[in-house]
Symmetry: C2
Subunit: 155 residues, 2 copies
């Protein structure tokens, strides 16, 4: 379900503000020559977790931006459920991260660029927690530009 249709202008502005923070995280990843994906978790107006992709740095296939941000948020808040939180991530989560988001029961997930290859929505039947509202396409062009920059340099 896409919640963006009913989002107010204030909500949209807020989403863009936090997505810019996620983009800053993605830039940190790019500096480390990692696939540039960043994430922040927000409770109210407070950033309670952040992270960027560290798969190459840590040589750990599970070290995605979302995983870092969710774990950081749970640590900050002292609880495994993130029911009042919004996760912002620059690129559509993969299956692993979608599973983690589902366990966290996050209230909202907001992403920038779709991932038509590895995004969880490519798997038919895969859903987040029923309470979780999904908003896609926030600052998508900026999020995608970072990814294109990275993959262009690889060639």
């Amino acid at each position: 379900m896409n919640g963006s249709i009913n989002d107010s202008a204030a909500q949209q502005q807020r989403d863009e503000k936090f997505m810019r923070m996620a983009i800053n995280e993605a830039r940190q990843a790019l500096k480390r020559e990692e696939v540039p994906i960043g994430a922040v978790v927000v409770a109210g107006d407070r950033v309670v977790g952040r992270g960027h992709n560290l798969v190459e740095t840590l040589q750990d296939a599970t070290a995605h931006a979302e995983m870092q941000a969710l774990t950081a948020a749970s640590s900050t808040l002292g609880g495994k459920y993130l029911r009042d939180c919004t996760l912002y991530v620059t690129v559509e989560p993969c299956v692993m991260c979608a599973g983690a988001i589902a366990w966290s029961q996050a209230a909202r997930v907001v992403w920038g660029a779709d991932d038509p290859k590895r995004g969880y929505t490519t798997v038919e039947g895969l859903r987040l927690h029923p309470q979780t509202v999904v908003v896609r396409g926030v600052l998508a062009a900026e999020c995608e530009a970072l990814m294109k920059e990275f993959f262009k340099e690889l060639r």
Copy 2:
């Protein structure tokens, strides 16, 4: 795909040996009043990673046995891919862990008890890496007995 049909008696014995180690990990979880699930990662005949469910202890919804074991194995081996490794886990992996296993490109995944509620095979269209052989039902009764013991005590 279930690879168990062609498994030799030696392979089966080997699988049971390592599943017993995963069961020991699950017992560690039970002692901490965690859902008793344990995992080990094996390369050749060497255990390179192990872990048990720590969701309550760490208050982190991502702290599943498989995640701990995969991250430990990558750390031991110094690489993000676990292409020569087998992951043993007492209960069928969830969506998150299936996603992590897919990224790791593990050669084999062996589990004990099925999880008809949260197991990744309940999601239509969700697959591990095409190279990964899946074996299910190894020491299933023992793995399930631990789960039943835990949930009986909760009631």
